[in-house]
């Protein structure tokens, strides 16, 4: 009897701690988002969005000097991101970050306590490349955080962002947390915004694992852009 009771209560506790308690909305779609981008897209934000936390951990494994891990590591991520995106969208236009960074930072609400912070263009101003071309859709990458054992709620739930992370121990996963917005450049409105999280189990960690992480992230973004279309 007691055994049965304890099993029940453990089950209940697990339910509380995991799936059943997670009720965040991590995406937001504009009511007029009816068609996911296909064939062509522009991207901006990729020069400065990438951040690698735990530099020394990554420096040791990726065999990059600790002083240059931020520069070299993030450049690698940026290039992988771009080439992966180019595979998916044949007609890819890369806008330099400066095009969008001139606008003030704003927050976009995804859920009661979840807000993305990022630069989005002013109402009435279209983003243009250096030749003056106006892409209809722009993927704005706000932040791309790479680290170990990270949880997105600790970064984006304003009730939790002041929590200190626990003591550094042997990590189980390499995590990527990234926020982005699909911007309608013609009508200047956010069509789709999301915060995503990827957890990559660690065995041995090499540069190709990092490449793979970025590739998975791009896949995840594309999948979400399709799933987010308002019916």
């Amino acid at each position: 009897m007691t055994f049965k009771k304890s099993i029940l209560s453990i089950g209940f506790a697990i339910c509380m701690l995991t799936g059943c308690a997670d009720s965040y909305h991590w995406t937001a779609s504009h009511p007029s988002y009816h068609k996911a981008p296909y064939g062509g897209i522009a991207v901006t934000g990729i020069d400065e969005a990438f951040v690698i936390t735990r530099s020394s951990w990554f420096a040791k494994r990726l065999e990059i000097d600790k002083d240059s891990i931020q520069i070299k590591g993030t450049r690698h991520c940026r290039n992988t991101f771009e080439s992966e995106l180019r595979k998916a969208y044949g007609n890819l236009m890369v806008l330099p970050d400066s095009v969008n960074r001139i606008f003030p930072e704003e927050s976009i609400k995804l859920d009661e306590r979840i807000f993305i912070k990022g630069h989005i263009p002013e109402q009435g101003i279209t983003l243009k490349d250096s030749a003056g071309n106006v892409p209809p859709l722009v993927l704005i990458l706000h932040e791309f955080i790479i680290g170990t054992d990270l949880k997105r709620e600790n970064f984006f739930d304003y009730a939790l962002i002041h929590n200190e992370s626990g003591s550094i121990r042997k990590p189980d996963y390499v995590s990527a947390i990234f926020s982005y917005t699909l911007w309608d450049n013609i009508k200047q409105r956010p069509l789709f915004s999301a915060v995503d999280e990827l957890q990559q189990p660690i065995t041995t960690y090499k540069l190709n694992n990092l490449t793979n992480l970025i590739q998975l992230a791009v896949q995840k973004i594309r999948k979400n852009l399709y799933a987010g279309v308002s019916k």
């Binding site: 504009h30 009511p31 002013e122 109402q123 009435g124 009508k187 200047q188």
Partner: protein
């Protein structure tokens, strides 16, 4: 078929001169000042004519003033927002998606005071219309009306579609200032302690409403023969009347408007249910019991102010009570010696203990005068904390071991706070 429907819908839209996308009831002032904002600079309506249209379609509007909002038409931030709004004004898009994000634009809208901005933007065969006031950074109302080169007719159309509503008197500067500093009528601090004392009447019965009769009928229909015999003695309602009015006196205290305690006393007079066909009762003048209940309730409550002079406090209570029965029996005049059965008549326990459970509400007028409505259930039984004895099996059954009834009551009370 689908095509035909689409054509019909298109035609319907064509014939319909205007379409309101949303209208969140902006305040239309009497003698309103309407600022006409045509972001492209070529207003399709004329300010003076529009004022005439307003007066034609809204008799309550008084003396409106209309002018073109040149300062926004020349401003680049407003111009950009105007263009953006024109691109984004779509049917079925909630107004929150049309919010002006630029801080400069938001500031412009906020400083409108009680002027109304009428955005008019010709777009082919239609004119986009949006209305702004200082209370929101998004349009308060928006839609389209059919374009017409006759400025007067277009003004009439806009006035009849968006401005055909009741007007409010505009406050003077002093009144606005006063209103801003005026205290909230319904603001009230929750008192630390709230006391009340009251007197009430009520009614109780054994049968619960909406339950089958046969749950209680074995008790309520039972009668007492030969001064002591019933079918069953588990409930007191086998002996005495269960449905009777009672009088109550009560006093209570609530701590921080949330949890409270209440003392109550109830009195009712219960007739014995003697079997009239039993001849042994011929000697009897009357036989009844005074029922005294003394109880203590714990209450949970919450007060909701409805108007400045009226509050409602819903409450739930749970408590316990002790019940005493005071027998009143008399023989008829001239009968000196009662029968043997009279002398061995039924005796109740000295004291019954039970529980109270229920909900109610206090309706308080002018902070002090309350009307109290309650409904609940109560029980009476033998003290359950009695030590068990080895002779329990042989002991005679306790009369009224489990007696349950339900009650409603209405009380009038006086309340005061500390």
């Amino acid at each position: 078929m689908k095509k035909l429907l689409a054509i019909l819908l298109f035609l319907a839209a064509w014939v319909q001169a205007s379409d309101v996308y949303f209208d969140s009831r902006f305040t239309l002032w009497k003698d309103a000042t309407i600022l006409i904002w045509a972001p492209q600079g070529n207003s399709p309506i004329n300010a003076t004519d529009f004022c005439h249209s307003l007066r034609r379609y809204n008799t309550g509007i008084g003396e409106p003033k209309c002018r073109e909002l040149g300062e926004w038409e020349r401003d680049s931030i407003a111009q950009r927002y105007g263009t953006w709004l024109s691109n984004n004004l779509e049917k079925d898009l909630p107004s929150s998606f049309l919010r002006a994000r630029h801080p400069g634009m938001a500031a412009k809208i906020q400083t409108l005071e009680d002027n109304i901005v009428l955005y008019v933007n010709p777009q082919g065969k239609f004119v986009q219309v949006a209305i702004f006031d200082e209370t929101a950074q998004e349009p308060k109302a928006a839609g389209i009306v059919k374009m017409s080169n006759d400025k007067m007719a277009l003004g009439d159309e806009i006035a009849s579609t968006f401005f055909d509503k009741r007007t409010k008197r505009r406050l003077t500067k002093e009144e606005r200032l006063k209103q801003q500093t005026e205290p909230d009528d319904l603001y009230k601090e929750v008192p630390n302690l709230k006391f009340w004392a009251g007197i009430g009447i009520g009614y109780s019965q054994a049968h619960f409403p909406l339950t089958p009769d046969n749950w209680t009928s074995s008790h309520t229909k039972s009668q007492v023969r030969n001064y002591r015999i019933t079918k069953d003695s588990v409930s007191l309602w086998n002996f005495i009347e269960d449905d009777d009015a009672f009088l109550s006196l009560y006093a209570g205290i609530t701590w921080h408007g949330f949890i409270g305690i209440e003392f109550l006393y109830r009195y009712s007079n219960r007739d014995m249910k003697t079997d009239k066909s039993d001849t042994v009762y011929k000697e009897l003048d009357h036989w009844n019991f005074g029922q005294h209940d003394i109880g203590l309730n714990v209450l949970l409550s919450m007060t909701y102010p409805i108007t400045t002079w009226f509050d409602i406090t819903p409450l739930a209570f749970i408590g316990f009570q002790y019940t005493f029965y005071n027998e009143s029996i008399e023989l008829k005049n001239g009968i000196s010696k009662p029968s043997r059965a009279y002398q061995y008549r039924v005796k109740f326990e000295d004291i019954y203990k039970g529980a109270l459970l229920g909900v109610g509400g206090q309706f308080v007028f002018k902070k002090h005068y309350g009307v109290d409505l309650r409904a609940g259930i109560s029980s009476r039984g033998r003290d359950i904390y009695e030590a068990p004895s080895p002779d329990a099996g042989k002991a005679p059954t306790t009369i009224g071991k489990s007696t349950i009834d339900c009650f409603i009551s209405l009380g009038f009370e006086y309340l005061w706070t500390l």
